[in-house]
């Protein structure tokens, strides 16, 4: 008897969990923001109450296409925001920040890297963003412009977002990596940044996801990011302003 009561309780619990999703997520309140990994520090500072999903812009775009419950999408490049907008998933994205690419090395710079040319040296372990991830695409276009694509032979890992690149250089397991200047500033104690002679145009668009049930709150957040407070926080973190 006691055992069947226990089973019943479990079954009821399972059944109730199956149908009560909606009110629970509404109770959690706040916005769900899908943002490029490079925006983590600034966005968490600007809207600490929001729920964030920081990852590669491409991965976030895929999740939004599949119906992930995002209200706001902020990407590290126009490509995926424009794609989402033209497919009807995102409302008119606006550029709110710009960024620069830098080459970073661990603070003790074990491989003695001083320039992009040094990356081609024997045994240098280079980590970059994967193809399709904005930071990875920017890296490839910079190397192409510089005619230095051969350093790609020394790539030991293609990371799925910029924090993956940063982490492997911070830990010293990679000799060098390409990240945004804002990431290098966030980790300035552990890495040294080397300026690049060539810069891609790195623009950050932000927009409201079409299916958002918190449209007004999402608009308010975007106004905050575009407004004085947002501009100040972005500038402090090393972003450029449009």
């Amino acid at each position: 008897m006691r055992r069947s009561a226990w089973l019943l309780a479990v079954a009821l619990l399972a059944a109730s969990c199956g149908s009560d999703d909606e009110p629970e997520s509404a109770d959690a309140g706040g916005l769900t923001v899908f943002a490029a990994a490079s925006l983590a520090e600034v966005f968490e500072q600007l809207a600490p109450e929001a729920t964030f999903n920081f990852a590669g812009s491409d991965e976030l775009a895929t999740q939004i296409r599949e119906g992930a419950p995002a209200d706001v999408y902020a990407a590290a490049g126009p490509r995926y925001a424009n794609e989402l907008a033209s497919e009807g998933f995102l409302d008119a994205p606006r550029v709110f920040a710009t960024n620069r690419l830098v080459l970073i090395v661990p603070a003790d710079n074990p491989a003695g890297i001083e320039s992009v040319e040094d990356l081609g040296g024997e045994g240098v372990k280079l980590v970059i963003g994967a193809e399709g991830v904005p930071v990875g695409d920017y890296t490839r276009s910079v190397l192409e412009t510089m005619g230095a694509e051969d350093v790609l032979d020394n790539v030991v890992s293609n990371e799925e977002d910029v924090k993956g690149v940063l982490g492997k250089v911070v830990s010293g397991d990679a000799d060098a990596g390409f990240v945004y200047v804002t990431d290098s500033i966030a980790a300035r104690d552990e890495v040294r940044a080397i300026e690049l002679p060539v810069q891609p145009l790195v623009e950050y668009p932000i927009g409201i996801v079409k299916d958002s049930e918190r449209y007004e709150a999402a608009e308010a957040l975007i106004e905050l990011v575009l407004g004085e407070k947002g501009r100040q926080a972005l500038e402090e973190a090393g972003f450029g302003l449009p």
Binding site: A11, G18, D58, K125, G132, V155, V156, N158, D173
Partner: protein, 274 residues
């Protein structure tokens, strides 16, 4: 009343089954068989398959070679602290993969416990294929060793004692008596360890990175292709579902198969050794 309760149980079972099986079904419904084959023969998918197979086989060889005697030792010897050792061996089973990744980095990484020493010998493990193998061994070995201990413990001591009484040394007893009798359990453990190793993701991406043809295993390729070429991601996913089905079926079928062969072995053993 009683009938109502049965209905409730049946509904719960139905819900559970639907929830567990529908996602896998959706994977196969998303692309046609032709697209599946197309995607699986893409360079990324073939490279991932090769990396998974190569690292998996190397890791598995280590798991079997070291894990089998270790499991035998832990199963047969009685000493103080044995239970603690068995529990420690099982720890990676319940450890989150991300913890495994960061733990391997703090041991083998540049700033790790052994990293500097290894570096002095010119050995660097993180972000190499060796790192993939180590990650797979770390997460998969406990599955095999745990199952191995249980299998050796289940061997009737009367048989091993008889073998020793008849003059066989401990190594011979292990090889001719314990190993064949435990083989069905060891086989199941081996298959489970292989499955866990094939699915390894978290520790690998942190410790070994992701480079096509070198460290990008199938699960990592799924992740990398998600935003780039979803067909490939789905196709690799579907392939891994098929692998898992095979694994599960072999675990279910293996015991009945080896029970038959090992039973005949017991019967023939006395006449064989006399």
């Amino acid at each position: 009343m009683r009938r109502g309760f049965d209905v409730l149980l049946a509904v719960a079972t139905g819900l559970a089954l639907a929830f567990l099986l529908l996602p896998m079904l959706a994977l196969f419904l998303r692309i046609s068989p032709a697209e599946l084959v197309d995607a699986l023969t893409s360079e990324v998918a073939l490279d991932a398959l090769w990396v998974s197979l190569k690292t998996g086989l190397i890791a598995h060889a280590f798991v079997l070679l070291v894990g089998t005697p270790a499991a035998y030792f832990l199963a047969m010897k009685r000493f103080r602290g044995r239970d603690v050792l068995v529990t420690l061996v099982e720890l990676p089973l319940v450890l989150p993969p991300a913890v495994a990744g960061i733990a391997l980095l703090t041991l083998f990484g540049q700033q790790g416990l052994l990293g500097q020493t290894l570096d002095a010998f010119g050995i660097q493990i993180p972000l190499t294929q060796t790192a993939v193998v180590l990650a797979v061994i770390f997460v998969a070995a406990p599955f095999y060793i745990r199952q191995g201990i249980a299998s050796f413990e289940a061997v009737d001591p009367a048989l091993t004692d008889a073998s020793r009484t008849l003059g066989a040394g401990p190594a011979r007893t292990f090889r001719r008596i314990a190993l064949p009798l435990a083989s069905s359990g060891l086989g199941a453990g081996s298959v489970l360890a292989w499955a866990r190793g094939t699915g390894e993701f978290g520790a690998t991406i942190m410790f070994a990175g992701s480079l096509q043809g070198v460290t990008q295993t199938m699960p990592l390729a799924i992740y990398a292709q998600l935003g780039l070429n979803q067909d490939v991601a789905i196709a690799i996913g579907a392939l891994l579902v098929l692998v898992s089905v095979t694994v599960l079926l072999s675990v279910k079928l293996l015991p009945s198969w080896t029970r038959f062969t090992s039973a005949s072995l017991i019967r023939s053993a006395p006449s064989g050794s006399s």
